[in-house]
């Protein structure tokens, strides 16, 4: 009997391990977004459950990735953050770069980046182990997720429909995140709820 329990434990441990080490467990739209706890750039604990009743945006980032740089150098990401803030949305920027890889920063550097880029995240969550990233199947920077007020995943994918790191954001660009936010606020169905994320790979250590 005892052996059986040990075996069960081992199986759970092993399946859990595989689940965590795989990035493919991208959560489905319309289902509760995976819960997570993390430490933000001010050293405080952040839990997704803290934001019940609010729309939450998750943004995976790596400040040295050319696609992220374009978004911030053109002011596009900040523009989306301002609009989201006006709507009362909680914006969580997540850094899943492993130590020694591109985009890995300490808390001090993360706060400096926020200030220098005039970014408006509610929290910057440090995820050097990649646990949160893998939980969400985050694979590129940027990679965006929107959770509705009930904590249901309602959008996953790209920031916009122009997968490039070059030049300014032209007028014809469709910003999927802004579109989804306004549809969500209006109580409408989200037209493009799952899009192909583009950019650099998330720099998981393994």
């Amino acid at each position: 009997m005892r052996f059986k329990y040990n075996l069960l434990f081992l199986v759970c441990f092993v399946t859990n391990f595989f689940f965590i080490s795989s990035v493919n467990a991208s959560p489905s739209l319309g289902t509760p977004a995976p819960q997570f706890k993390g430490i933000n750039s001010n050293g405080n604990g952040v839990s997704l459950s803290d934001f019940q009743g609010k729309i939450v945006i998750l943004e995976w980032t790596n400040h040295d990735c050319p696609y992220v740089r374009r978004q911030y150098m053109t002011g596009n990401m900040q523009m989306v953050q301002v609009k989201a803030k006006v709507m009362g949305v909680v914006w969580i920027t997540i850094i899943s770069s492993a130590p020694g890889t591109q985009g890995h920063v300490n808390r001090h550097q993360a706060n400096k980046l926020t200030a220098s880029r005039k970014a408006l995240p509610s929290h910057v969550v440090m995820d050097p182990s990649g646990v949160i990233g893998k939980l969400y199947g985050a694979r590129t920077t940027p990679h965006m997720y929107i959770l509705d007020t009930k904590g249901t995943l309602v959008y996953k994918g790209a920031i916009d429909d122009k997968p490039t790191s070059w030049g300014k954001i032209d007028a014809g660009t469709k910003n999927y995140v802004l579109d989804a936010l306004s549809e969500l606020m209006a109580g409408n169905r989200i037209t493009h709820a799952a899009t192909q994320p583009y950019g650099c790979s998330v720099k998981y250590g393994s």
Binding site: V23, P66, T140, P163, T164, W166, A194, C200, Y204, S206
Partner: protein, 275 residues
């Protein structure tokens, strides 16, 4: 070159210096090359290609880059005597970056493009090539490329012949066997019907999805055979969940052939997903 041309080049250079990190252009040596040494005398098709030679461990991307990355792009300047076809992509390498899977090219590739020549005379082509080159980090690069062919007989250029031959073999043919694809639960099942003697020689297969979210790129593909079919089971991706109704991509098949392995790829054009 006029002042304007210089200014444009200076601007291009400026933007590549600011947006892409410094002068790492030599990570990828790129050129437009032609299989023919000259333009043909009559109408017809000749092949040109974007040749990329990469530094070790760096890669550029296939038409579907996989979990991250971006495919190489060519923006052509119109040239009235020829019609420029689409890129014919050779079989990519499967490149694992941590837990992510990418489809791309390491070391060297040749992206083949057919030119339909409509009028005789010299051919002068110009294209802006853009690609993302990655190792652990990614650098977007852009280069203006020219290809000039004098009027002539359209004979094969012996310098480039073997390169074109090598990469043309890696471009997929049409899938000519009866094939079906099923969407069952969270699985995608591809069934290809073949004759017994063909089936016997097949050693391994790998499916390359052509669209994001079709399958989970990092998951194992289970390959089996029965008396009539090869069967590949794959884990469905998010696009299936979102209601995608067809499968599109490529299958690479390795067969034993006179003691060696014959490696061929076949294009899977929009197969309806059956329940």
């Amino acid at each position: 070159m006029g002042v304007l041309g210089f200014l444009i080049l200076a601007l291009l250079n400026f933007s590549s210096n600011t947006l892409a990190a410094n002068n790492e252009t030599e990570l990828v040596k790129a050129a437009l090359i032609s299989e023919a040494i000259s333009a043909p005398k009559n109408r017809g098709i000749i092949w040109v290609g974007l040749h990329q030679k990469l530094q070790p461990n760096w890669h550029t991307y296939w038409r579907y880059a996989g979990d991250s990355g971006l495919p190489t792009q060519l923006k052509w300047k119109k040239f009235k005597n020829v019609e420029i076809g689409k890129i014919h992509w050779p079989l990519p390498d499967i490149i694992k970056v941590g837990p992510l899977v990418n489809y791309g090219y390491e070391n060297e590739t040749l992206l083949l493009i057919p030119l339909t020549v409509k009028k005789k005379g010299p051919i002068n082509l110009k294209a802006v090539a853009e690609w993302l080159v990655c190792r652990e980090i990614c650098i977007p690069q852009r280069k203006v490329l020219n290809l000039n062919l004098p009027a002539g007989n359209g004979e094969i250029n012996p310098v480039n012949a073997s390169l074109f031959k090598k990469f043309r073999r890696l471009v997929p043919e049409e899938l000519h066997w009866p094939s079906k694809v099923f969407s069952i639960g969270n699985q995608i099942k591809l069934v290809i019907t073949m004759k017994m003697d063909e089936l016997k020689r097949i050693e391994s297969v790998h499916v390359f999805p052509g669209i994001d979210g079709l399958i989970e790129n990092g998951e194992i593909q289970n390959f089996s055979k029965n008396k009539r079919n090869i069967i590949i089971n794959m884990k469905a991706g998010y696009a299936i969940e979102e209601g995608l109704k067809f499968f599109e991509g490529m299958i690479n098949i390795k067969r034993s052939h006179n003691g060696s392995l014959d490696n061929r790829s076949y294009r899977i054009n929009k197969l309806p997903l059956l329940k």
